[in-house]
Symmetry: C2
Subunit: 327 residues, 2 copies
Amino acid sequence: MRLATLRNGTPDGQLVVVCAAAARYLPAGPALPNLLTAIENWGSAEATLAALSSELADGAGLPLDPAQLAAPLPRSWQWLDGSAFGTHGDLMQVAFNMPPIETDLPLMYQGMSDRFYGPTDPVPFADPAHGIDFEGEFGVIVDAVPMGTSARDAAAHIKLVVQINDWSLRTLAPIEMKTGFGWVQAKPACSMAPFAVPPAALGQGWHDNRVALDLVVDWNGAPFGHANGRAMDFSFAELVAHAARTRDLVAGTVIGSGTVSNPEYASVGSSCISERRAIEIIADGKPATAFMAIGDHVRMEARGADGSTPFGAIDQQVVQASLPAAS
Amino acid sequence: MRLATLRNGTPDGQLVVVCAAAARYLPAGPALPNLLTAIENWGSAEATLAALSSELADGAGLPLDPAQLAAPLPRSWQWLDGSAFGTHGDLMQVAFNMPPIETDLPLMYQGMSDRFYGPTDPVPFADPAHGIDFEGEFGVIVDAVPMGTSARDAAAHIKLVVQINDWSLRTLAPIEMKTGFGWVQAKPACSMAPFAVPPAALGQGWHDNRVALDLVVDWNGAPFGHANGRAMDFSFAELVAHAARTRDLVAGTVIGSGTVSNPEYASVGSSCISERRAIEIIADGKPATAFMAIGDHVRMEARGADGSTPFGAIDQQVVQASLPAAS
């Protein structure tokens, strides 16, 4: 089963089921107008969506226009982003020139969830001097998770998996990080790849509550990285349990992996520019790669060993935001 | 104009307008089913709500049952909490035994917004060993604020003012703060006092984009503090502009002041237990006051010099959450 959202003029869009080749779709129907409604009622929605998926496999469906695809979940009540790849953490300490973070717990912050950009939306930024960077991640969408749920029990609440670009502003990030309050200005809206899929649909690509797929990243058409998601220090189930320790998680909560990063970065590359800069600092004492410029493109697509691309591609351009004139 | 929300079995509740004495109400009507819808359409909603307020002043309305009051905004897409009272920051450094935060910018984190407890809801916590503390605050609700809006222009986007208890878990807070990622576990859902009011309705209580009212806090029936909200180092307009520097703010975004705190704490007391503990540490080298226990009550009510209480009272009991049995 692959789920997507078509633009229909509403903030939540229209939920559709997409065929394996992403060429045809069927509307999820009036009882499941959007993905947020479906995840709030997953117990009954799942069978409906699976039945539509079978119809698509039998050849039914309307032609899918990729240009009409929004984020599968265009907005949600909660976005909690982890940082579960140890290599990313190590390199970011170099990039930000900050001491190691001493904790045995997962790292996590709450970010902006009122808008997730669609996979081909142009992404507006206020000022390229803020250090515009992409961060390739995986994420999971849960149904309602009661406070105090264990990691073991959390796994059953993971209903869908998504691929995310967590846009970051690197000259603002360390300033906010040093306050201890986390990021507001450094973390504008994220983007999502077009398709959300249940963990089981990933086959071997879902292992130990991790996405065991390469995240292929191209920057302005040049290969940038293809790190694998299986290297998480904490599984998604552990991240969900961490988030739910002192709060009920509302249905539709998105939990992120943090930037996909592997110890073998010399051969697999990176999923964000800051990591490449850190690697340059380690090698040469200073970074050589600049952050993104207005007009730059980034493409991200997770790929299985069999060549499958379950989430489809994020393929976006950075644009200058039109800012209001001061009165 | 005073706005409130009655429980009606939906997550957003039913928007009503309440009379000056909070004894009668009128439904906002089918076009304005809840406050989130109203703030998304404030340009047209304001006149409708003002007309209902006039009818109430003329004696119309149904009897209001305070037990049916939810938070005026029971959930929203975004909650960004500042920390704009310098005295609070100074005392929290003592409480957490952490170095001063060096920044010229407002402090702000993104917190949980999918649920705001109503004013008399019992508030469940996973574990009293987490250091349960209240934090009395003021907040504003904005309509849509474009990215890059100046502080001067941000003031016009402040449509409503609310009173908030930002529940905090003090043994978890410094652990998360030291990571730089901000708080997830240490900041469960907040509570709101029953009434949201436009800034103009506060009269002299709204000054320089600050709430110039005493926040009267009682803990288990004993007076705890009555600090005044005018002492913010940054105004709400400045906090809104800070939040909007790199993102559009979605209509319904709630921006918090942080714990109300005054330099005259020796005479006015505090709005959270951690501050009292810090004052004890300064005086005696160690804290004497314990955090909240299961069964404790806290009451918070902002009060004008004329005795008016525009937001009504938060009056809540701390209860033990019933946690799921591990499988």
